[in-house]
Symmetry: C2
Subunit: 349 residues, 2 copies
Amino acid sequence: MAATGAPTRAGAPAPLRWDGERLHALDQTALPWEERVIELADGAAVAGALRRLAVRGAPLIGVAAGYGLAMDAAREPTLAALDRAAAVLRSARPTAANLGWAVDRVVGAARGAGAGPRLAAAARAEAEAIDAENAAAGAAQARLGADLLAELGVRRILTHCNTGALACGEPGSALGAIAALAQREAAVHVLVCETRPLLQGARLTTWELRRLGIAHDLVVDAAAAGLVRAGAVDAVVVGFDRMAANGDTANKVGTYGHALAAQAAGVPFVFVGPTSSIDPAIATGDDVEIEERDAEEVRRAGGELVAPADTPVRNPAFDVTPAALVTAVVTERGVARPVDAGTLAALLR
Amino acid sequence: MAATGAPTRAGAPAPLRWDGERLHALDQTALPWEERVIELADGAAVAGALRRLAVRGAPLIGVAAGYGLAMDAAREPTLAALDRAAAVLRSARPTAANLGWAVDRVVGAARGAGAGPRLAAAARAEAEAIDAENAAAGAAQARLGADLLAELGVRRILTHCNTGALACGEPGSALGAIAALAQREAAVHVLVCETRPLLQGARLTTWELRRLGIAHDLVVDAAAAGLVRAGAVDAVVVGFDRMAANGDTANKVGTYGHALAAQAAGVPFVFVGPTSSIDPAIATGDDVEIEERDAEEVRRAGGELVAPADTPVRNPAFDVTPAALVTAVVTERGVARPVDAGTLAALLR
């Protein structure tokens, strides 16, 4: 249960720590300037932390939501109360797939256990199981990802957004694989894209890499393509939010541009993430709806207004990378390579 | 002499206005929040304005430097004094090609005129000639650019950085062509890339487009590729800093990624700029040295720190777009299309 265990390998407080009664969360809105741990005592507190992005990253959101319900079940162990708590949590981040999935699992386990102490125990056990499964999946992704990168001779890596312990619990998806590679190979170096608009690369990935002792340089997102062309990296390695059955993949906006640059330069482009992020119900990338987020995210940077206050904005949170640009997909169940409907279906069987 | 004339077509103070004795500059560091006009009374004041980017953009830098020397020549009309003033101006922005070029022209004209009132008159006449030639070149680029875009059926355009009156004097290079197209076609829409790290797109291009009444949306640079893939634009149109003899071209970092996205989506990619930015002494893009700028530009956004204070950074100011990705180059002397050593050499003959 690395997500809720001891301090991270990076020597920092764990992004989530479950003490058996309460959840302790590293407040990611305060990073990288302050390592502030907040105590979350019930589901409403967890929902609030998710809403304001104190706890973020699809896998970590699921783990936190599970413990939120377990705490509420301990306090008022009835199905009616649990359903109310589930509704509050579900609404915290309506687009996070892992949130609804984790809430469903805990409510389902509790429903089968009656009421009273048995309901509370069942909810808690399911939350702990989600945590443990997530940690095991992350460890497997990291190991398989490092194996692949080592096989490809990769040392210098470009990454985007944040996919480390802060997003997934230890060790992370793409950043977990990079960290595992760095444990085997001394010369690993990471180019970190700042990831506008919310700057998760600049704020969070740099912070994690520093704590892990992995060499890195921060770049603006627009610098990535030219540096890839100039031979600055051996591979692009990123996480993913939702992969269609054919391998077309939605991820944080900017990912597609990095994939084009990798193809043009002839360097591998690798996705790392859990099989739960592969959605076989979606045929191709054309069927993925792209969420447009608030204009203020673009009008501001680091809290400061950087454009006229009412400038019209487009702010797609994701883009779609066609499967043809993807060298390999690393999951906890194995590696799809090449990436197509057949290799992905084999992973899910 | 549009650069130093009446208020811009955008209804704002001119980026530079020469009243015959002094230079009045719109302070671009205060935009878009305040339209502050500063009076520059001598070459040292011009040099200071260039250093702090109150006046910026290669063509505008050249025009301002010319007037700076003219003012110094009027005050102390000797060649010795003019040489001292030239050294101060030349050092203000050592990498700006147009700066040294304009200083050389004014000093050369003055040198041929002796001393006293005739020296002062020659310096002033040369500065005014540089201004007038720049304005004529901009007008021709805008007209030829709009012709090309109209021929290609382009209405929705992605652009990068700032290439309008603020960079070039009226009407601008790429933005001048877009504005000229908008005068012919009502449906013109511009996607403006914010252009990290210094955000010239967010701060300056949005401000110019609003004053011109041209519909636009601001996007983070990382969103460009996905939007181009999704069919949001008919063309990518940008300025350029330095073009090699074979058409490989250095421009503001991020340009290359937009060119890859345009190629993948099958939409035209067009450079607009003066022939003075084509450097036949450079054979290919491999020979262009890429300036790395200060790390603080990346660590900060809108003045605020957005990464750990001592995070290592790479900050290339430019990238290189290979000629093969370029549909056409529009200059004041005509259009190169396709773009290769032959079509470019023909433009320069």
